[in-house]
Amino acid sequence: MAITERALWTMIHGMVFGALYLLACSGALIELCLHTAPSTPAPITPAQQRFLNIYLIAMAALAWTAVLTGAYLIYPWYRATPPQGTVDLSMFPQRLLLSNPATSGWHAIGMEWKEHVAWFAPISITMVAFVFIRYGRDLANHKHLRTAVLSFATASFLAAGIAGFFGAMINKYAPVQGGPVIQLGPLPSNGDQK
């Protein structure tokens, strides 16, 4: 079992940072809704507030890590220009997608949207974390502030969802590959091959 270095980083970017962020987003939305509702039966305790503060900071860190690894590590491999005369485009995902009308939309719409909309997630969740940490349980007394915070948290979830969906589909049709091969298990001997 082996994986290339680029494929491993793409997996870490999508499956660790991105997917974990999406999972965390759904939890954060529920927690924010419950703990900042004006008519909540039991107001948030200091311990719950501390936990949610750390949870939101971790989410912001995850979102920033996801977009930064995406933009500065994976994206350059994705958009690399092949040398003139290259026939096999498997190492150049963007060109591979554009070479076929059936897959070009994954770049023209998918990647073009993903590469920009993904940044909305960290911007929005950083704001949400800041406002929640600053106002805490007092957020329940600021109706418009609470609505805006929940809207931006939802927008962050949506932006990450769009980026995640297109990232997964693009990687399905034109996977980012290359770099040193990392062996994840013992090398099969000739006798093990079927």
Binding site: Y72, E112, H116, N141, H142, L145, F152, L158
Partner: protein
């Protein structure tokens, strides 16, 4: 003043909303700036090279960096002005939400390509 008149009603905000308003409005501005700059970087050839801060990433590096700087700068400015104030938050929220929705729409390639 009697003791009863000093009692704070349970749903009275303890903090002014200015700081929150600054954070919300600047986040909306940041998202909109990113989409707007992406269109500029895509349509104006003269901006493509200046926005390429890191060649392997292309104009996206400049678009995202400048948008983040705009977001943080507006946040610092609004926060300094509004921190101790109570702002008409309904209006600020609407503006921030409109900017966010415009950001989503303008970043969508079929809409961005109309310009």
């Amino acid at each position: 003043m009697s003791a009863s008149s000093r009692v704070i009603p349970p749903n009275t905000p303890a903090l002014p909303n200015g700081s929150g308003a600054a954070a919300i409005l600047s986040a909306g501005i940041g998202c909109f700036s990113l989409a707007f700059l992406a269109i500029l970087g895509d349509k104006l050839l003269a901006l493509k090279a200046p926005l390429t801060f890191y060649k392997p990433t292309g104009p996206l590096s400049g678009v995202s960096t400048v948008a983040i700087l705009i977001w943080l700068l507006t946040w610092v400015i609004f926060d300094a002005r509004w921190r101790r104030k109570t702002i008409a938050l309904a209006r600020v929220s609407v503006v921030a939400m409109v900017l966010l929705i415009l950001g989503f729409l303008l970043s969508f390639p079929p809409i961005a390509d109309l310009f």
